[in-house]
Structure formats: structure tokens, C-alpha cells
């Protein structure tokens, strides 16, 4: 290219950059989709951050008509319960089978949301209007998800300011705000995780800033929104106790201790107090902690138990083939073939009881917490917090796959610490996000989640990798590096296999049907769709429904277990 052209292009670039810098927030006013512009104007939000915020909001708006799970109706029902019943009946109502089983703050939150809902459409908060999903309630509930997610947006923005490396932190923050986990679980499946994790991140941010009292307060608030965050509570407890209530020399600081204790107790009093006064505490607790479920969820969460269960299935096949004289558990042979909610019974291996999972979790957590006790720094807290949640996810009883977010979110904050952390983050994120895919089983939404996650992964991992990459120095390092790459490369193949199985299955089952039913298929509109819905599907062979889920679960479990070991190693050995 000739020099004048080059010169011109430089000129032009320059001009564009200049105009881009001038870009201001004023055009935001045009859209009705943009909330809170005026209060945000005085915060220091850069143009690029506005861009991300506005564009992502538009994308989320496009997902309004997407599939939503029963959680949508769950939350609508809670709007109805909190709006039309007095406080004393909230935890007793059984009009819908989706009873209120979140802590009181979430119930208060739903109460607040139900007020505008009443003015938008009265039928939203009608207790007996079950399974209502008119456009009004869809738009309203989806909008509340987007709006409350601003808590998350604000928190990740705060993380950029004053970060050690703002450029890296900006990528991490953007990756959190745009996390496919939130897109899948919140904006399609329907939950309020963005809001909850926003509170968690605010709490972590306060810890980073050294304001541990606020950190503890926010975490207590969070616990009263959703009790699953108890997974993280031990790390909080140890960290605050060691670094806030005790001096570095190990002396107890009573003033700090008392103020923290008071503030936490105050939060709980506000939350649970009314129910204690009404004598409803046992009812409340029985709603929050139903101990009647099995080891695995319908779709095995990709944790250690998924691997154990899979090993049991494999052993069973081997035993059957060879005809070994091993005492088989009769009920275990049929169990988990469909994997519906219920107790998992092993055929070959000894059965797991809740107490076992509890003991293992506690054991691992103790190891990490001792480390945290010895080095109560912010970074160590972050790693300890992640590992605490990770342990619960790995070994907990009846873990849901959505709980992986508890690991991925704090782990993201660690990603820019060093290359080993970043590598762990990559593996855990890819496996973790992939393990969320089965939450959505309608083909259009599968396309949405797969493409979005791929895009997200490219935009996050490529620039970070470029900045963080370190060549492995030892031979084992090279081998591990290679194996990890092979493992990651397996995901596209897994996705193809998982997509292909139901299609092939339905084609064969339809051709069988056609053979049986003659020509009636062609004229019948209600004939089965090519993709049976795995979780509530009724047609086809059940093994074909369950096989993709099992493959996904086991493959992701391998990566997540490996990332767990990796992270533990880094934390215990190197820091």
C-alpha cells in the first residue's frame, strides 16, 4: 500500500478515535430501555462501560420471549403470596406447589416487587392465577431481573476503580457482568442470581477496601436473601474473625468483635425476627432446608459424586458382562437410569449417606480454612472463599448445577492474579458454563446459549491469555498443559455429540412410529417434534434422553474436579 494511503488511514483512525472519545451519555435518553440514567451520570462510568451496559441490556431485552423455566412461575407465585397474604401466612401457603422456600429478605424483596406488579397487571399477583405467563408478567419479571442486575454492574464497576491493573480488571469485570451463567440462569431460565451475586461482590469489594464491617454486614444480608450462600459462610467467618476481630498478633479485639456480632445479629433480627415472634421459626426452617432429597439432582451436577455415580454405572455393566459374583443392590440396578429427582442408589459401590458428604466437605474446608487463618490477606480470603464454595459444590448433598456460579464468580476475581489462577479459571469456566447448558433444552435457546458462551469465551480468554500466558517450564508442566488443551478442545465435539444424539434418536423413533402407525403421521400436526425435551419428555427411549445429560455431566465433572485440585494445590502450595 502506498504511503499516502497509509497516512490517510492513520488520519482517519485518529479522527474516529477522537469522536469516539467525545461520545457522551446524552443519547441514552432516547431509549426507554435505559434505567437510572440521571443518577448514574455523576458516577465515573466511561464510554466503553456505557457501551457494554447498553448493548448488553439490548441483548437481554431480545431474550424476553425466550423459554422460561418453572422458576418463572415460582417467582410469580411468590409475588402473589407476598402481595395477597399477611406476613404470618407466607411460609404456610400451599396454593401452588411452588411454596416460598427462600429466606425472609427475599420474601420482602418479592413484596416490594409485587407493588408495581399490581399496577401493571392485577392478575400477576392473583394467588389462584397459577401458571400465568401473559406478556405483561413476562415483561415485568424479566425487566426486574435486568434492573436488579444493576447491583452486579455497579459492584464490578467499583472493582475496576483502584484495581492493581485496571485494564485486566476491566476485562474481568465485563466478563462477570456479561457472564453466560447469568444469561442462561437469569435471563432465560429465570432467577435473580445477578442481584444476589451483586451483593456478594459488593461484600467482597468492601473486604478489598478494608471495610470488613460492611463486608460482614452485606454477607449477612445476602444470607438472608438466599441461604445457598452458606456454602461460603465458613470462609467469611474465619476471615472476619481472624483479620477483623483479632489483631495480627492474635489478640482479640472486643470492640470489633462486638460491633460485627451486633450488626450480624441485627440483620438476622430484621429478617427472621417477625417470624420468631409469631413462633414460625420451625416452619420457616423446614421450608428452607428440606432434607428429603437424593444425592444427585435430576441432572447430576458435575461434581465428585457425578464421577462416583458414573463409575458405579460402568462397574455395573462390567459386572453384568463378566458375570462376577458380586452382591448387587437390586434397587440400584434400575436407579438413575432416568435420573429423576429421587434417591440415587448405587448398584456396586457402597451407598453415600448425607453424613458422609457432610464429613468430607467439612474435612476439605478445614484444610483451606487453616490456611486462611494463617494468612488472612484479601487475596488469600478470595482464594479461600472460592475453595470453600468449591468444596461444597464438589462434595455437597443434592447439589444443583446452578451452584457452580458460586465458584465461578469469586474465581473470576482471582483470574488476573497469576497465570496458574488464570488457567484454573479458564478450565473451570468452560466446564462450568457448559454444565449449565442442559438447563435449557429447547432448540432455539440451545443455539442462543452455545453461541453466546462461545463469543464470551473468545472475548474473555483471548485477550487475557495474551497478557497472562506463561510457557510451562517443566516436563510435567508441558504434559499437563497439553492434556488441558486436549480437554478443552473436547467441548465442541461433546456439544456436537450431545446435539446429534436426540436428533438421531427421534428420527429412528419416528420411523418406528411411522412403521407402526402407517400414514397417519403425515397428516397429524401434533406428531412429536424432532427434539424431545429431555427433562419432561415423554416420548422416545429414556436412555437416549439421559445419555447426553450423563455425558455432559461426567465430562464437565472431570474438568471441574481437576480445576478443584489445581486450585487447592495453588492455594496451599504457592501463596
Amino acid at each position: 500500500m502506498s504511503s499516502p494511503t497509509l497516512l490517510r488511514s492513520r488520519f482517519h483512525d485518529h479522527g474516529e478515535k477522537r469522536t469516539e472519545d467525545i461520545t457522551e451519555e446524552d443519547n441514552v435518553a432516547e431509549s426507554k430501555a435505559e434505567p437510572k440514567t440521571s443518577t448514574w451520570l455523576n458516577m465515573d462510568v466511561s464510554v466503553a462501560e456505557w457501551d457494554i451496559f447498553i448493548l448488553s441490556t439490548c441483548l437481554k431485552l431480545l431474550l424476553f420471549p425466550a423459554y422460561h423455566s418453572t422458576d418463572f412461575e415460582v417467582h410469580r407465585n411468590w409475588l402473589a403470596i407476598t402481595h395477597s397474604l399477611p406476613l404470618s401466612k407466607w411460609y404456610y401457603d400451599t396454593t401452588s406447589k411452588w411454596t416460598l422456600d427462600y429466606p425472609p429478605f427475599f420474601a420482602y424483596f418479592e413484596k416490594v416487587l409485587s407493588i408495581p406488579a399490581y399496577f401493571i397487571d392485577k392478575r400477576i399477583v392473583d394467588l389462584n392465577n397459577l401458571d400465568y405467563d401473559a406478556w405483561s408478567v413476562v415483561a415485568y419479571q424479566r425487566t426486574t431481573v435486568i434492573l436488579t442486575e444493576l447491583v452486579l454492574g455497579a459492584a464490578v464497576l467499583r472493582f475496576i476503580r483502584g484495581a492493581r491493573d485496571p485494564a485486566l480488571q476491566r476485562i474481568i469485570s465485563a466478563s462477570l457482568f456479561l457472564h453466560p451463567g447469568f444469561l442462561i440462569v437469569d435471563h432465560i431460565h429465570f432467577q435473580y442470581n445477578g442481584f444476589m451475586f451483586g451483593i456478594l461482590l459488593w461484600s467482597i469489594y468492601m473486604a478489598r477496601q478494608g471495610d470488613k464491617l460492611s463486608s460482614g454486614f452485606l454477607f449477612a444480608v445476602l444470607l438472608n436473601f438466599k441461604h445457598i450462600y452458606m456454602y461460603l459462610a465458613p470462609a467469611y467467618f474465619i476471615y472476619l474473625l481472624r483479620s477483623f476481630c483479632m489483631s495480627p498478633q492474635g489478640e482479640v479485639l472486643p470492640r470489633n468483635f462486638l460491633s460485627l456480632a451486633n450488626i450480624v445479629i441485627a440483620v438476622f433480627v430484621v429478617s427472621v425476627g417477625p417470624f420468631i415472634l409469631m413462633g414460625q421459626l420451625p416452619q420457616l426452617l423446614s421450608r428452607l432446608f428440606p432434607f428429603t432429597r437424593g444425592l444427585n439432582h435430576a441432572y447430576w451436577a458435575p461434581n465428585a459424586w457425578a464421577l462416583v455415580t458414573a463409575a458405579d454405572r460402568v462397574l455395573l455393566q462390567i459386572v453384568k458382562r463378566i458375570g462376577l459374583n458380586v452382591s448387587l443392590n437390586a434397587s440400584g440396578i434400575t436407579s438413575t437410569s432416568r435420573g429423576l429427582v429421587g434417591d440415587t442408589v448405587f448398584a456396586v459401590l457402597p451407598n453415600i449417606k448425607p453424613i458422609h458428604t457432610f464429613a468430607i466437605t467439612l474435612l476439605f474446608q478445614t484444610i483451606f480454612l487453616i490456611k486462611l487463618w494463617r494468612t488472612p490477606t484479601y487475596k488469600s480470603f478470595l482464594a479461600g472463599l472460592t475453595l470453600c464454595g468449591y468444596t461444597s459444590f464438589m462434595f455437597g448433598w443434592h447439589v444443583h448445577e446452578k451452584a457452580i456460579l458460586l465458584v465461578l464468580v469469586p474465581l473470576s476475581l482471582l483470574a488476573c492474579e497469576s497465570y496458574p489462577y488464570f488457567r484454573t479459571f479458564t478450565i473451570a469456566s468452560v466446564a462450568g458454563v457448559f454444565s449449565l447448558f442442559p438447563l435449557l433444552f429447547t432448540p432455539p435457546e440451545i443455539f442462543v446459549e452455545v453461541i453466546y458462551s462461545t463469543l464470551w469465551a473468545t472475548l474473555v480468554f483471548v485477550p487475557l491469555n495474551r497478557r497472562m500466558y506463561e510457557f510451562p517450564r517443566s516436563l510435567p508442566g508441558v504434559i499437563v498443559d497439553l492434556l488441558e488443551k486436549v480437554y478443552l478442545a473436547g467441548f465442541p465435539i461433546l456439544q456436537i455429540v450431545v446435539t446429534a444424539i436426540p436428533i438421531l434418536g427421534s428420527r429412528t423413533s419416528r420411523s418406528q412410529q411411522a412403521a407402526v402407525a402407517g400414514t397417519c403421521v403425515a397428516g397429524n400436526f401434533s406428531c412429536p417434534e424432532p427434539y424431545p425435551a429431555p427433562l419432561n419428555g415423554s416420548s422416545g427411549s429414556s436412555s437416549l434422553d439421559f445419555l447426553p445429560l450423563m455425558l455432559t455431566s461426567v465430562y464437565c465433572a472431570v474438568g471441574l474436579v481437576w480445576a478443584f485440585l489445581r486450585l487447592s494445590w495453588i492455594y496451599l502450595k504457592h501463596d
Binding site: M1, S2, P4, T5, L7, R8, S9, R10, F11, H12, D13, G15, E16, T19, E20, T23, E24, D26, N27, E30, S31, K32, A33, E34, I54, L55, C58, L59, L61, L62, L63, F64, P65, A66, W135, A139, I171, P443, P444, E445, F447, V448, I451, Y452, T454, L455, T458, L459, V462, P463, R466, R510, V521, A522, N524, F525, S526, E529, P530, Y531
Partner: protein, 578 residues
Amino acid sequence: MHRQGMREWVVPCFVVASVWVRWCIGLGSYSGQSTPPMFGDYEAQRHWMELTIHLPTRQWYTYDLQYWGLDYPPLTAYVSWLCGIVGAWINPAWFALDKSRGIETSGSKLYMRSTVLAFDVLVYIPAVILFTRAWHSNRSLRSQNLALITLLLQPALLLIDFGHFQYNSVMLGFTLLALNCFAKGRDLLGAFFFVLSLGFKQMALYYAPAIGSYLVGKCIYLGRQDGLRLFIRLAVVTSLSFVVLFLPWLPPFAPLSAILDPITRIFPFNRGLFEDKVANFWCASNVIFKWRTWLSRGALVRLSTVLTALGFLPGAATLILGGVKTQVQPEERTKGGSPAPILRLLPYALLTSSMSFFLFSFQVHEKTILLPLLPVTLLLSGASPDSGPFAWCALVNNVAVFSMWPLLKKDGLGIQYIATTVMWNRFIGYKPFQIRDRTFVQFLSVAVYASFLFLHFLEMILTPPVRYPDLFPVLNVLVSTPVFVLIWLWSIKCGLQVLWALGGLGSGASSRHRRNSTLSPITEQPGNVDGLPEDSRPVQMGGIGRDSGRRTTSFSVGQAHHRHPSKESASSGVGQNL
């Protein structure tokens, strides 16, 4: 992204992201969803797939015309046939003859949506990528990519194709491919692609005056001998392509009279002057002047034809005149492989011609605004964000989306309407409410946007009175039409200016173009589709040239390329004799 060292990832990411957006729009409802017995455009397209795979070719244009009879040219029919074959292989129930009418299963919807996406990815997206490379080849990669995203996420097209449900991107993609070929000097291939575009949807005729004039202009430009040779070749290629497209309805495959079936279906003159409420001249003036009571249909047809012809005449004339003015001397024969200098007139001429069809011709739909929008967006993609052309084109794009609001509302695409429009404006860095240079177009934009918001607000809080059920669509038309008329006039003005800059310079012209035509398309390419300010820079010009330069600045068209065009013309030694 460029700063993060992700240069090579930009195009793939843009493409994937735009595919994702397209798909997400498709999650919503489509035209005619659950409205038996006729449903809407979605059912029409599906019905064509159904009938083409079950019937012999001769019956395609005659089968049960009352229920969405096929009324698009053969390429659409062939594409429908292909989609139908594949779809029936997956699930025969989706396309069972007659029995599948109004089928609305999720699987069928999924398949239909994916066919649109597939053809968009096959035709439109490559065409757009090639366009940014062929027409903006002298721009930085960054501006090329900006142009790419401008074209990829254009909200009107996305909403109609992926929301409402049509295959416009195929027709537009073929036209765009034709333009790319013209820019590379491959006129025959270009003509072929344009025939494909016409063969997909007859609406591409809106471009025909401009494309035809460009080719004629190019023949004139090439001089008697070469020009005549090119002309004959073009004629042969074009007519052969048409014959191939219509082969099943021509002898020896069918009696000669059979060709009348598709022709009468494709050109329906027995319908009304306009359908629903469309932001064109007829519908807007109908508020005061009730055309249909005053004039017979025959008279109206004639009147609209005359007005349309008058409307596109300036665009066609500039191209031909440009060809005459820049004609190469016989001794300076050029290679056929380079485009004519009049190429930079082409986008304006396309806009003039398609907009005049939209405004004045018979039987126009509101969706047809997509055709003028293509050249508008092409011009937009070449303009820098603080220039006059940018302001005009962005305004027209937004007005076009707004003008389709009644349709989108009917289809239940409100949320997609908001989301895609905001997203696109943000992506291209457009600031709708900013008045920076106090130019006419900026004041106009603010006024228009304010009235949009006001109308939307009114529509939200008020139900129209019983006497005027169409109150809001009519108001919509009354706001949109003036903008469309203005952009039509603007395109004529710009075309004349470019023409002026090209050759209105007496003796200097021939020497200039001798030099030009030997330059490679990369340096001389009218990468700046809004090309005129390049040559009409006041600084470089003496005499008449200065006049035109001043005029362009006063029309606020000139700011776009203040900096770099001067570099270009100075360094390539072209500008002096202006």
C-alpha cells in the same frame, strides 16, 4: 478490541454476534402468528415451500391463488423448493400438501427461522464483508469493520427478515454482490448477480434504472469500440440469465403462453394504489386529496408510472452524463477490469431510483423501505460519524424503522424494535439528540425524533378515537414521508454534485480521467461512497470548482472528509486540475 490485540478476531466476532442477534430476534413472534385463517407472510413463505415440493413446476404459479399463491419470481420458488425438500426430509408433516396449512409447531418455526438465517449467512453476510473490503479498500481496517457492523446490524432489515419473516436479505445480498463486482470492474458477473436479485424478488426492479444506467454509462465511458463490445456482452449475459431462470415456463419445456403465469403473478396491477398505511407520497397526500375517489385506477397507474419515472430520471441521467463526460479517448484504451469513475455516483443513483419507486410507484408496502435503505446504509457505512451524510443516513435509517412500527406492533415485535434500534445506534456511535454544528439536518433529526417519542408516548396512553382508528399509523406516515422526500432530494443533489466534480470542468477533464483510469482501484476507488467532497474541496480548487466546493460545505456535506481527502487528492496528484 483492536487495542486488546484482537484484530484478527474482530470480523469473526462481529459475524457471530450478528448471527446471535438475528437468532434472538427470531425467538419472538412472526407475522400472522396464530391468526387463522390466512395467517401472514410467514405462512406465505411456508406455503410456497409446501406447494413447490408437491406440484409440478407448471402449477406453481396457478395453484389455489386465493391462499397465498406464489407471486415472487422463480428464484424464490427454487429456494422454497430447496427448503421444502430439506424440511420434508426432517419432518414431512411440516410441508404436507394442504394439510400443513397454518402449522405452528415449535419445530416448524425453528426450521423456518433457520432457513432465513442460513440464506442470510450464505448470501447477505459474505456480500457485506466483501463490500467493506471492495468499496472501502482505502480505509483503515477499523473503519472497514465499523462499516461491517453498521450493515450487519441494520435494524430495519433484521426486524423484517428475522422478526416479521421474509427473505429480503437474499435479494439485497445479491444486489450488494453485484455492486461489489462493479467496484472490481467485473461488470458481467455483476449483471448476473443483479439478475439473480431480480429473480429472487421483483422489488429489485427499484434498483434497475440505476444499475442499467451505470452499465450503459460504463459502455459510453469505454468508448465506441470497447463500449459496444461490453454492451453486447451485457445484453447476452442478462438475457441468458433470465432465460435460464424462467426455463421451466419456456419452450420446449412448456408452451409459450405458460410464461404468462409467472409474469401476471409477479406484476399485479390489479391491486390498490397502496396497502395499509405506507409512508409514501400517495398515502401521505391521501389525507387531504382522496386520490381513489378522484381518479380511476387506470389513470392512477399511469400517473404513478410517470411520477416514478420522473423521480428516478435524475439518478439515471447523472450516470449516463457522467459516462459521456468521462469518456476515455480512443487512443487511451483502458483495460476492462477497472470500474468507471461514475461508480461513485452509483450509490446516490440507487438511492434516488429506489426512493422514487418507494414514494411514487403503485402498490407499495411499508416493508419496501428496505430497498432504499440499502444504499442509505451503504452511504452511512462510508461516512465518518460527525459528517453530514452520516447524519442524513442515520436519520433515514431510524425513520425507516419507525415507519414500520405499525407493522411491527401488529407482529408483536415491540421489544425487538426498541432493542435493535438502540443497539444499532449505539454501535455506530450515533447521537440522535446532539446538535453540534447547527446544520439543518441536525435540527431536522431532533424534531423528528422528538415527534417519534411523542407519538409513541401518545399511543401508550391514548386509544385512538372510534372515528379515526388509524390515527397513529397516519400520524406516523405524516412524520416519515417528509424525511423520505428529503433524502430523495438529497440524493439527487449529491449525485449532481458528484457529477459536477467528475466532469463539469471543461478541458481538464479528459487529462484527469486518463490518469485516473490507469490507477488501481485501490487508490482511486471511490471508497468514500459519499465521494463528492473529495474532489470538491475548496482548497484545491480554482474557478468553477471552488463554487461547487463552497456549496457542498454550505450544505454541510463536506465535513466528512475534510482531513483525509485533501491528502488523497494532493498526494495522488489528481486534485490539482480541479
